[in-house]
Amino acid sequence: MNPDRVASFVEGARAAIPVCFGFFAITFTLGITAHAAGLPPGELLLMSVVVFAGPAQFPAVELLPLGGQALQILVSTIIINLRFSVMSFALAPYFKRVRTGELALGAQLVTISTFSVSFLRFQRESTPDNFSYFLGVAIPSYACYLVGTVVGYYFGAGIPAGFEEGIALIFPGYLTALLATELRDRRAILVVGLAFLGTPVIESLVPGWGLILNAVVVATAAIGVEAWSESTSPSS
């Protein structure tokens, strides 16, 4: 096996450890919710395998046992998961020499967590094999996601509230720390700050769309300012 692929995969797997904790916490809660809603465990596990997206699964596990909600579940799933398209577009330039079949399989593992860790790593510098790094992050994370789903379903009751609070913040905390250690580009730092401050504003104006709409507004403004400053700089 190609040593570059192995080294990149192992590096990604190390970076996946906090993601695993975060995923476990999310799906543990998902398991509790599904159990309380009366969804059979096989259906919950199937959903975690094929959807692999917590924010879309929470409403679905509540609605599915009620019956007659197919259209609502499918439409809300598509709307909530539209963000994956942006992430796939953003990752594509780092996977230039990957075979189409491998890409098609790896695509299933794009989530905000696997994307964020990989994207921030690639901003520092390319790994010897970016796609293997991504798989190193994504495959253990996917396994934790599925294990958390099952454990939460069967053993979810009785976790202390304080620990739940701490566990829930593992992944946002890790992303914050990654940004603090990886970000060097001044414009990117400005974008991160503006996006953080703008999210509650956009979310209050258009509830449920804060993440994507805010990102589009901030990114478009940033690219506009960058293009303008390049066109007016003396060297252009």
Binding site: P40, P93, P172, G173, A177, T181, T199, N214, A219
Partner: protein, 105 residues
């Protein structure tokens, strides 16, 4: 009923998979211009930042909870920037949240 549930779940999976795979294959086949790639970089930073905001505010039951999460966020940034180690930063942030939630803030 079970068959209907399975069909809905498979539909959710298929729809989500198309959203994931289509842009990846499209941008792989037709490379994006540098300006669009840069726009996606900014978009990605924005999404990550917004996600952090949602992660810290979601499920907060009171202003006090948001406050101590804010303290944890600040200490996370300080610890990570000082040590250049994301795991240390995350550990400090989570420890602060655990301690403050245990003392009832």
């Amino acid at each position: 009923m079970v068959g209907e549930h399975v069909a809905i779940i498979l539909g959710m999976g298929l729809g989500t998979y198309v959203l994931r795979v289509f842009p990846l294959l499209l941008a792989h086949r037709f490379p994006l211009p540098p300006r669009i790639i840069r726009w996606f970089q900014f978009l990605s930073y924005s999404i990550i930042s917004s996600f952090i905001w949602f992660g810290f505010v979601k499920g907060a039951s009171s202003l006090g909870t948001v406050g101590f999460r804010g303290i944890a966020l600040g200490l996370t940034v300080l610890a990570a920037a000082r040590t250049k180690n994301a795991l240390v930063g995350m550990g400090v942030g989570v420890a602060v949240v655990l301690v403050l939630s245990q003392v009832g803030l």
